[in-house]
Amino acid sequence: MSVSRYALSVWWRNLALYRRTWKLNLLPNFFEPLLYLVSIGIGVGAYVNEMAGMSYVAFLAPGLVAVAAMNGASFEVTYNAFVRMNFEKTYAAMLTTPIQPDDVLAGEILWAMTRSFLYGGCFWIVIAAVGLAPLPASLLALPLIPLTGLLFAALGITFSLRIPSIDLFSFYFTLFLTPLFLFSDVFFPLQERLSGGWLWIAEVLPLLHPVRLMRHAFRGEWSPILVWDLAYVIGLSALLLVLAARATRRRLAA
């Protein structure tokens, strides 16, 4: 990979566009967590005395921060990146300037992480405001937000670079991200519902690891399994990005 400072030019281009639309974009970010917390945390939570030793709404909060980070990154590297690549010819225009394919990829990933931080950050602020983010421990969750963004940016761009049609993103969202959302420790602790063998298989799920990191951060607890979680997030991101760099070069420089 030959990432250069020109990656920041790509990032800046997205920021320039976002500055025009941020007011419209940011507002839903504050409402989405509230809706979840009220509906599921308080509504469903009324029937649940406690989960994993805490109120249900408190159990839910850290997982939803990870989900927000996942969503924030995913939209950027799927629909938005696909449109920039195939319809708006944004990348073709960048490649008439000193920007190289590796810079395009790095800039887009960096931007997806930025979006995930904005998204997840809003979520965190709402949760903190209603007293569900114990301070100062849950401050540790903040750097985990862009890290989650990195993982889902890498996953999303890998998919975007391989598909021929924009319609296929419904598969990515409905058959990949939605199941992750439902089965990654966000709504219930997996280890209490799955037997040993299945528990190991669940470790494959990408969202499980950010959720576990997030939840430990909120509690201010350390556990050896977090080493595995961090290694998974960083390792899989790195692997996917190396493959994505190759695919980007092939796709843009064909």
Binding site: S9, T90, A93, T96, P98
Partner: protein, 327 residues
């Protein structure tokens, strides 16, 4: 209206040796699967000229340009721009050239000024420099009245001007234009040609593709005609006409079967069939017309036209309609 070339449009660095070509392609080929899009082309674009690549759709013009600015590597051969191998020095080459793509790749919700700033960032220009150049370009392309409107609210002609402006933000020594005036109305085309001429007189080398023959004839100092990935002819527009046809054209309206009868006993005339019209090329078309009149072979007399031969004739002769007569 701005009428004189602005000194500030002079590229920062002119080619060290004017005799060295700005672009030099040697045996350049590009293969996509089984298809050879560019078939071993040799091409030299001299400094300071406006050079046109002509060809029908699919002739390989855009692929050729993409190899020249290093967006895609050639499958064979070598492309040198400013004397540098583009594949090895892509970034250095692209710092010194500007490209306007066939489609305006602009951020449509942003204004001309904001789009110019984005391209200034792509080139990592210092803020002070980029703001100064944005001011210059707003004047040069007469964009000031529309500078802060979203690009998508602008007419096609204005959008095209913005697209050309962004490719000039870093004062390139070489400007590459892929079909710069396709889809624009005649007035806008004339205005753009004038701007391109000004850039050239200020020292910028211009390389463009077009399939408008009048554009090529009036704008380009030199041309290369591409067909099926090969250069089938090159030279100045006048030389191409002289070399491949003749100075004048005589157009007759005749049914297709009568060519042989009309042309009987007529020598050294090249002909071109365009539907119902038969075009004959001769250095003295009036004399040829007299000869044919005497023999009563002019077809519909009210549809006879004598005119100078043009590039369109050359193009059709070389790429499309079969050229007949003595080769």
């Amino acid at each position: 209206m701005l009428r004189r070339p602005m000194p500030s449009l002079v590229p920062d660095r002119l080619a060290e040796h004017d005799s060295d070509p700005i672009v030099a392609c040697e045996g350049v080929a590009k293969r996509y699967g089984d298809r050879l899009a560019v078939d071993h082309i040799d091409l030299a674009v001299p400094a300071g000229l406006c050079f046109g690549l002509l060809g029908p759709n699919g002739a390989g013009k855009t692929t050729m340009l993409r190899m020249i600015y290093g967006a895609t590597p050639p499958s064979a051969g070598i492309v040198r721009v400013f004397g540098l191998d583009v594949t090895q020095h892509t970034r250095r080459v692209r710092m010194r050239l500007g490209v306007t793509l066939q489609e305006n790749a602009l951020v449509e919700v942003l204004s001309a000024v904001e789009n110019l700033r984005i391209f200034a960032r792509y080139h990592r220009l210092p803020r002070v420099t980029s703001e100064r150049r944005i001011e210059e370009l707003l004047d040069f392309l007469e964009l000031r009245s529309h500078a802060t409107l979203p690009v998508r609210a602008l007419s096609g002609g204005f959008q095209r001007r913005v697209a050309i402006a962004v490719s000039l933000i870093h004062r390139p020594e070489l400007l590459i234009l892929d079909e710069p005036t396709t889809g624009l109305d005649p007035a806008v085309r004339l205005a753009l040609w004038e701007r391109i001429r000004e850039l050239r007189s200020a020292g910028t080398t211009v390389l463009l593709t077009t399939h408008y023959m009048d554009e090529a004839q009036r704008l380009c100092d030199r041309l290369a005609i591409l067909s099926a990935g090969r250069v089938v002819a090159d030279g100045s527009p006048a030389a191409l006409i002289r070399q491949h046809l003749a100075a004048q054209a005589l157009e007759l309206t005749l049914p297709a079967g009568e060519d042989a009868r009309v042309l009987a006993e007529i020598r050294d005339v090249r002909t071109l069939r365009m539907g119902r019209r038969l075009v004959l090329f001769a250095d003295d078309a009036t004399a040829l017309l007299e000869t044919l009149r005497e023999r009563g072979r002019t077809g519909d007399p009210s549809a006879v036209v004598v005119r100078p031969a043009n590039l369109e004739d050359v193009f059709l002769a070389l790429t499309g309609t079969a050229l007949e007569g003595d080769a």
